[in-house]
Symmetry: C2
Subunit: 171 residues, 2 copies
């Protein structure tokens, strides 16, 4: 919802403009909500692009990096597919997709579950562990250590979204 209607050459904030138009059309009660949702969409786009740019040379995407880190932090460097999907809050098919590619790249390995033959265990391989560490080091210095916000503001963002997630029934 980022649109501007003026023709001035000034660099307006498209979201603030959309918010103004919303109010003008009699939707003032929903203008802030629209602006908040649109802001989230754009912030996500910005953050993801930044992260993906750092990960690209390592040969993984953010989705696959998340799987690697989940395994990296797990006790035995291995987890069932279902648990991965649950933790990362994505659809089972998304896990299948990510693990397919990680396995093809030699970063993880599928293993049958010893007790439950329906289940598949994903195991982090050495190459995957090394990639996870290298990618994290670069991600930390290039993105996470210096977001686009002052330290206090970062905390504020985390707090607000934590409230949002809680109210949405996320945890």
């Amino acid at each position: 919802m980022t649109f501007v209607s003026t023709n001035s050459g000034l660099p307006l904030d498209p979201i603030a403009e959309a918010r103004r138009l919303w109010a003008e059309h009699g939707w003032a009660h929903a203008a802030d909500g629209m602006a908040a949702v649109t802001s989230l969409m754009r912030a996500h786009q910005i953050a993801l692009a930044r992260v993906e740019a750092v990960l690209k040379p390592h040969g993984v995407t953010f989705a696959r990096y998340e799987v690697l880190m989940l395994l990296y932090f797990s006790r035995k460097s291995s987890l069932p597919m279902a648990l991965i999907g649950e933790r990362l809050q994505v659809h089972p098919t998304s896990v299948t997709n990510a693990v397919d590619r990680l396995e093809a790249a030699g970063l993880v390995r599928r293993t049958p579950h010893p007790a439950d033959r329906r289940s598949t265990i994903v195991e982090l391989l050495d190459a995957g562990r090394e990639l996870a560490e290298a990618a994290t080091a670069e991600l930390n210095t290039e993105v996470f250590a210096a977001p686009w916000l002052a330290p206090a503001t970062v905390g504020s963002l985390i707090e607000v979204i934590t409230e949002l997630r809680r109210n949405a029934g996320d945890f």
Copy 2:
């Protein structure tokens, strides 16, 4: 980056857990940044799912709805493809894709630009205008008027992300 390592049955916040693990691994300086980025990813996922659910019965996705609203607010209910991509901050091919589907659904129409033969004007049709109004009405009441946050918090979220976007060179 939403992963939990404990085995307690308590419903922990996965992002808070990831943040703790980050700090434990000597990455304390980047823990907040990681949590902020991960929070944005998840908030985006939640908000988008909510919006798409409302739009689905109207037969459009959020991406196409944004195009419709952009045209809806434009002076002559029509804009060049390039301008749409610029305002919505998406790649030109994404605009082609969205307009293809909107045109197939009879909601917009492509028209040659009178002066610049490279350019294509997208024009909002009556059906598109009606759909935009109906979808917006429902979106306003179902999502935007009642986000998952208290009114003051919504304002706070918008402010923080505005700062983020400005620092990222977004406007």
